[in-house]
């Protein structure tokens, strides 16, 4: 029923045992109304569709009468007995649709009103944080209470503290085990000729990830051609044959059993993927990408599975697999990680999911014409050879290395600047001594000069010395363990640090408001600019 409503004659029962009140049931878009026939009875019922949690109904084939049992969110159940089954089914469908629609809406409404409504739990959390962290409390008091920032803005940057679930979206994915698939060794029973393999969903996932041909075979054969158990038996038979390295037997069995042959042949899908990858390798990367990278077909330098060197007959070549191939493939898969999140027990679902993922990635990887063109251009740009290019004569700027001696006070200058001859020196010395002796006599006579030092001079000297000592330039950088802040008394240090955190907070909000596109942001920016911070004090302190 598209929209609209249903009206049916029903009997309302509050419990199963209740004989039922006959009445009239009207189901509309968001509401369900039951009016009893008897106006004096007070079992009038009005149920909002939002409140209905679930519905149950009696099956048609059973001997029970057509009942519809609605449970609301307060776990109260309402049972309606219909006159016949079709009625009941119609009502049931209608309610199902209404329920489905209801489920969509709450999601939307939650999102829009979350910024306005705050759950009590969240408020509690905020108060707790403020109580514990005194620095946060100070900042909060300074900004939110002086109306510079709103509560929401203040807490917007502290989502991590509030532990919002939205942050915890990306959990770390569990990686794949590094044990190789081919390392699954069976348990052999010494007495009988039986070999037992253990198979877990984890192993199945890994096998499907590493061997796309097996995965494809699974999708093709199961459940059409054989059961899952058979499939795995054949697979492990193939594995066993590989491990025995008996290529002749392998060839014989492959000829016999078609499905087994699939497992024994080299993996075509993988080979195709690799070839495709090779074609797409960027030659501007300085790597050799050539036929040698097609590791599925290469008999690699003689490293056999168990370290022994065997000679293989050429026709049975394809039935041999090498350790290096396995290692490479396994490593590639482990590095890729888990490409699907399906944790289903059903092998088929896993296989299909993996195939889908591979197809999607293949589609993405196919290069379009434009991309190709761009690649070619880039290649030609990067592969330019310097010797074949025209000589570029850059204008040379001469180095100007100054004589280091200019920077030092040279005492040799002094040597040259005393051009007195020997005699001149003697005479000067004599004169000098005379002067000196005069000075001494003078001070003996007159005593210490009074005043010894002029107060202005003294003050000037004292203040310049204090400035020298207090300059940060002189203090910083001398001792790696000392910091400028440690030299301040504790209260000053705390104040400076608090100023710093409040400035950081203001700046964060200030710059996040840019570019100013709404009036709200504009007023916010104005508020921030003129907020009361004793900034001049700090500036003077740092300057001095």
């Amino acid at each position: 029923m598209a929209g609209g409503q249903i009206e049916k004659l029903v009997k309302y029962k509050s419990t199963v045992k209740d004989p039922g009140t006959p009445g009239f049931l009207r189901i509309r878009e968001g509401m369900l109304l039951f009016v009893p026939n008897d106006p004096k009875s007070d079992s009038k019922l009005k149920v909002l569709t939002q409140n209905i949690k679930s519905q149950k109904y009696t099956k048609e084939g059973s001997n029970k009468p057509p009942w519809l049992n609605l449970t609301n969110k307060q776990a109260k159940s309402h049972i309606f007995e219909f006159e016949n089954y079709p009625d009941m089914h119609a009502c049931r469908d209608f309610i199902t649709k209404a329920l489905a629609k209801c489920e969509e809406e709450p999601n939307k409404s939650v999102v829009s009103t979350s910024s306005e409504q705050l759950s009590i739990k969240e408020l509690e959390l905020r108060f707790k944080l403020l109580r514990e962290n005194s620095e946060l409390q100070r900042l909060h008091k300074q900004f939110v209470e002086s109306k510079v920032l709103t509560e929401d803005e203040f807490w917007a940057t502290r989502k991590k503290l509030l532990g919002k679930d939205s942050i915890r979206k990306s959990k770390q994915q569990l990686g794949l085990k590094s044990m190789m698939v081919s390392g699954i060794k069976p348990s052999t029973d010494g007495r009988t000729n039986r070999v037992t393999f253990n198979l877990t969903p984890e192993i199945i996932f890994q096998i499907f990830a590493e061997k796309p041909a097996v995965r494809q075979a699974f999708i093709n054969y199961v459940p059409s051609k054989m059961t899952e158990k058979d499939f795995w038996t054949k697979y492990f038979r193939a594995e066993y044959l590989y491990s025995t390295k008996n290529t002749a037997v392998a060839a014989a069995e492959a000829a016999e059993d078609e499905e087994l042959a699939v497992f024994l042949k080299p993996d075509e899908i993988l080979a195709r993927e690799t070839r495709h990858k090779i074609r797409r390798v960027d030659p501007t990367l300085d790597m050799e990408a050539d036929q040698g990278d097609d590791y599925t077909h290469l008999m690699d330098h003689g490293i056999q599975r168990d370290g022994t060197m065997d000679v293989v007959e050429p026709q049975n070549d394809q039935f041999k697999r090498s350790l290096l191939q396995d290692l490479n493939r396994h490593a590639a898969v482990v590095l890729e990680g888990r490409s699907i999140d399906v944790e289903s027990e059903d092998t088929r679902i896993v296989a299909e999911a993996l195939t889908r993922v591979k197809q999607v990635s293949k589609a993405d990887g196919e290069t379009t014409k434009d991309a190709n063109q761009e690649r070619l251009e880039r290649m030609s740009r990067v592969a330019g050879m310097e010797d074949l290019q025209a000589p570029q004569n850059f204008p040379l700027a001469p180095l100007s290395i100054k004589d280091p001696r200019d920077y030092f006070e040279s005492q040799q200058g002094n040597v040259l600047n005393v051009p007195r001859g020997a005699k001149g020196l003697k005479r000067n010395v004599h004169e000098a001594y005379g002067l000196l002796k005069e000075s001494i006599l003078e001070i003996r006579a007159t005593g210490l000069s009074d005043p010894l030092i002029k107060p202005e001079v003294s003050f000037e000297v004292f203040s310049s010395l204090t400035r020298t000592i207090a300059t940060a330039k002189n203090i910083n950088g001398k001792n790696p363990r000392e910091s400028f802040l440690d030299r301040l008394p504790k209260s000053t240090k705390d104040e400076v640090l608090h100023h710093w955190t409040s400035i950081q907070e203001l700046l964060k909000h200030f710059w996040s408001s840019y570019p100013i596109t709404t009036t709200y942001l504009h007023t916010k920016v104005m508020l921030l600019q003129f907020s009361n911070l004793p900034v001049p004090e700090i500036a003077i302190y740092i300057d001095s």
Binding site: P404, R405, F408, E409, S410, Q411, Q412, N414, V415, V418, A422, L425, K426, N428, V429, H430, E431, A432, Y433, L435, L436, K437, S439, I440, L441, E442, I443, R444, A445, T446, G447, L448, S449, L452, I453, K454, V457, S458, E460, V461, F462, S464, L465, T468, I469, N474, K478
Partner: protein, 301 residues
């Protein structure tokens, strides 16, 4: 030294050895007269003696050709009466000035005898440093209760590179004895010796800009005893001039050759080290020139 009860001894008792520059060639060229300078210095010495009852001051005059002790505050003969004419010197420094005058006369005699070479008009810093260190060593050996000694060098004359080795030796012995050498340089250029001395021994080096406020500089920076320096901030120089003088010509150099055995510095290549006698190997430059010589010789023969 009179016996002093150990209770009376506090951390900040200091022995100040003042090295006074009396180089006449310097004092004839300064803006401040020697008498003004002396009054600042004497007032400063009074202040130091006033800081603690047990403080001691020793003054050594650094002359042009000689050095001598001219004042020791621990000698009792100082406290005798010296007649001064009316408003003359305080009695405590009467002997200082008298001795200073005698010293200057003696120094003049010595400088007349000396053949005057073309030398930089420096004062004999190495001599006075050595005398100071000897005095301090004697104090150390006098018993375990002694004041903490330090050396204050008041100098205006430039460095004499010929004294480099002696000065460096004194600096290292002061470092060994853990005696800081403070230096107050009132001359025109920078003195590399004094900067290095203060840097190596952990003292304070300062170059006052206003010489008429010298007393203020002295009392603010150089009057602090060693214990208080742990928590009093004193001005630090920005950099230190570490240039050395070569051992052969006594020139100040910043690049030269060094003997790997005794670390003596030479400005040019020598075949043998003059200090320790070790023979140097051939330098690469010599190799190149001799090789080319050989080549040239071969075809000619």
């Amino acid at each position: 030294m009179p016996a002093i009860a150990s209770k009376q001894y506090s951390d900040d008792v200091s022995l100040l050895v003042l090295l006074l520059d009396t180089n006449p060639l310097f004092w004839s060229t300064t803006s401040i007269t020697f008498s003004q300078f002396l009054s600042h210095v004497l007032a400063f010495l009074n202040a130091v003696l006033g800081l603690n009852q047990l403080n001691q001051v020793v003054v050594i005059a650094t002359g042009y050709s000689s050095c001598d002790y001219i004042y020791d505050s621990s000698l009792t003969s100082n406290h005798g009466n010296f007649e001064s004419n009316g408003t003359g010197m305080p009695a405590i420094f009467g002997s200082l000035l008298k001795k200073l005058e005698e010293f200057v006369t003696k120094d003049e005699e010595l400088s007349k005898e000396e053949v005057s070479e073309d030398r930089i008009p420096s004062c004999l810093l190495s001599g006075s440093l050595s005398m100071a260190l000897c005095y301090i060593q004697r104090v150390f050996r006098s018993g375990h209760l002694h004041p903490q000694p330090r050396i204050l060098c008041l100098q205006g004359s430039p460095d004499g590179p010929e004294q480099y080795v002696a000065v460096m030796n004194s600096i290292f012995s002061a470092q060994r004895l853990m005696v800081p050498i403070d230096s107050c340089y009132i001359g025109v250029q920078n003195s590399a010796f004094l900067q290095q001395a203060s840097y190596i021994t952990g003292g304070v080096h300062h170059t006052p800009k206003q010489l008429d406020g010298l007393f203020q500089y002295l009392t603010t920076i150089f009057a602090t005893d060693l214990h208080s320096r742990g928590f009093v901030q004193l001005p630090k120089p920005i950099g230190v001039d570490f240039r050395a003088s070569c051992f052969c010509h006594k020139k100040t150099i910043d690049m030269g050759y060094i003997c790997s055995v005794c670390l003596s510095i030479f400005c040019e290549h020598h075949k043998k080290c003059s200090t320790c006698g070790s023979v140097f190997g051939q330098s690469k430059l010599d190799d190149a020139s001799s090789a080319s010589d050989k080549k040239r010789k071969a075809p000619s023969t």
